[in-house]
Amino acid sequence: MKKYKWLVPTIYIIFLMLPIYWLINMSFKTTTEIINTYSLWPQKFTIENYVKIFTDSTWYMGYVNSITYTVFNTVISVAAALPAAYAFSRYKFLGDKHLFFWLLTNRMAPPAVFALPFFQFYSSVNLFDTHIAVALSHCLFNIPLAVWILEGFMSAVPKELDETAYVDGYSFGRFFFKIFVPTIAAGIGITMFFCFMFSWVELLLAKTLTATAAKPIAATMTRTASTSGYELGLLAAAGTLTIIPGAIVIYFVKNYIAKGFAMGRV
C-alpha cells in the first residue's frame, strides 16, 4: 500500500490543474474557434488575446490597480498588526479577550453586508475610486487575520528572549526591530502571504468601491460579457494572467510555508 501512496497527491494535483489547463487552452484560441469546435488543444494557435490585453491600457491598468491596492493593504495590515499582536501575546490588559473576539468577528462579517454602506461611506469622505479606499476596506478582514496569525507566532517565542534583551540594555524599539522581528520573520512572511492572498482574490468590495481610476482587473473582466457578446478568448487570457502574480508570491514564500506553518499556531 505504501508503494502507491504518491498516487493520492498526484491525482489531486491533476484534478487541480485540469480547469487551469482548460483556461490556458482557451486563452490561445480565437473566440470563433472556442464556440465552434471542441478540442483539447488550440487548433489555430494565437496570441492575439494577450496582445490585446498588453496594448489596451484599460486592460493592463486593471492589473496595475489590483497589484497597487493589494500591496498597500498588505503593508498597512502587517504594520498595524505587529504591535497589536505583540500586545496580545505578551500582556494582559483591560478588555483584551473581548477586543480579540471583536477583531475576529470582523473576519466573519460577510462582505455582502458591508458593500452598500462602504460605498456610501467612502463616497462621503471623497475616497471613492482610489486605491487607498480598497486597501483600507480590505483591512476589515485582513487585519484581524494578521493579528491572529502573528499572535500565534509570537506566543511561540519564549518570553525570556525579551527579558534577556532588556537586561542587556536594549531599549524596547531596538529590541523589537533588531531581535524580535527577525526571530518571527517566517511568521511575518506567512502573514503577508495570507494578506496578499485575501486582498488579491476579493472582488465584491473592490468592485463596489471603484469606477474607473482604480478598477481591479477582475472587474475589468466582466466587460467581456457586456460589449460584443462573449469574448471568451479574451476572458480566458485575462483570467490566465491573474494567476501569475499569485504563482510568483507562492514561489517566494514556499520555504516559509513549510517552516512557518510548523512553528506557529497556523
Binding site: 504518491w6 498516487l7 493520492v8 497527491p9 489531486y12 494535483i13 485540469l18 487551469i20 483556461l23 482557451m26 472556442i34 471542441y38 498595524a80 498588526a81 504591535p83 497589536a84 505578551r90 500582556y91 494582559k92 477586543l99 475576529l104 468577528t105 470582523n106 473576519r107 466573519m108 462579517a109 460577510p110 455582502a112 453586508v113 458591508f114 458593500a115 452598500l116 454602506p117 462602504f118 461611506f121 483600507l136 476596506s137 484581524p144 493579528v147 492572498m197 488579491w200 482574490v201 476579493e202 472582488l203 465584491l204 481591479p216 477582475a218 466582466t222 476572458l235 491573474t242 494567476i243 499569485g246 507562492i250 514556499k254 520555504n255 510555508i257 513549510a258 506553518f261 510548523a262 497556523v266
Partner: protein, 288 residues
Amino acid sequence: MNKTINQKAWYFVIPVFVLVAFNAAIPLMTVVNYSFQETFGNNVFAWEGTRWFKQILLSDRFHAALGRQFAFTFIILLIQIPLGIGIALTMPKKGWGVPVCLILMSMPLLIPWNVVGAMWNIFALPDIGFLGHTLNSVGFDYNFTQQPGDAWFTTILMDVWHWTSLVVLLSYAGLNSIQPAYYQAAEIDGASRWAIFRYIELPKMKKVLTLAILLRFMDSFMIYTEPFVLTGGGPGNTTAFLSIDLVKMALGQFDLGPAAAMSLIYFFIVLLVCWVFYSLMMKNEARS
C-alpha cells in the same frame, strides 16, 4: 505563557482598533439605521420599528436561502475536511516533492474568485467545456445551466477544487510539527496505522483543524462571487445562497430596509456559530 498585566499595552492596539473600527463600526451603524426605517429616496426616511425583521424572519424566501446555505456549508465541510487530511497524510515529507506539492496545491487559493467562477463556467459548459463534454460523451445528461442537481454538483465540485488545499496546507503543517520520537515510540509498541493516526496525528492536528473548520465555515457561509459567476444563483433560485440573495435584494431591487434587516440577521447567525465554536476552542486550550 504567563502574561504580565500592563494597561499601556492598549497603545500597541490603537492602530488596529482605529483601522478596524473605521471600517466596521461606521458601516455597521448605517446598516442598523436602514434596518429600522423605510426610505423614499432623497434622504427621506420613516421609522418602521421591527417590521423588516419580522418580514424577513417570516419570509419563505429567507428560509429557503438559509436552508440552501446550511446545506452547502455542511456538504463542503463534510468533503473538504476528510479529503484534506487524507491528502496531507499521503504528501511527501521531504525531497523535491515537497515544494512541487506546496506550490501546485496553493495555486487555486490565489486565483481571484470571479476568475474561479469564470474558469469553472467554461470548464463545465456542456458543449465546449472539458468536464461538461466528457460527462455528456460518457452518457450522463449533464447541463448545469438547466438542471438544479447538476448546478449543485458543479458548485460543490468547484468549492472542493478551490478550498481543499487550505485544509491540506494546515493539516500538513500540523503533521510536520510532530517529533519523529513519537513515531519511533509507536513503532516499538507495534501500533497499527489507524492507532498512530487516532492517538498521535489527530490530537496534534486538533488546533490547525479547528482553525481550518472555522475558516471554511466562515468563508463558505459568505460565499458570493464564485457561484454568482458560475450559475448566477440559478437555474431559478436553486443555488442562490444567502449573500447572492442579499445582494439581489439590496443592489438589484434597492429594498434597503429589508436588505439591512436581513444583513443583520445573517451576520448574527455567523457570529453565533463562531462564538460557540470559539468558546469550545478556548475551553479546550485551557484544559490542555
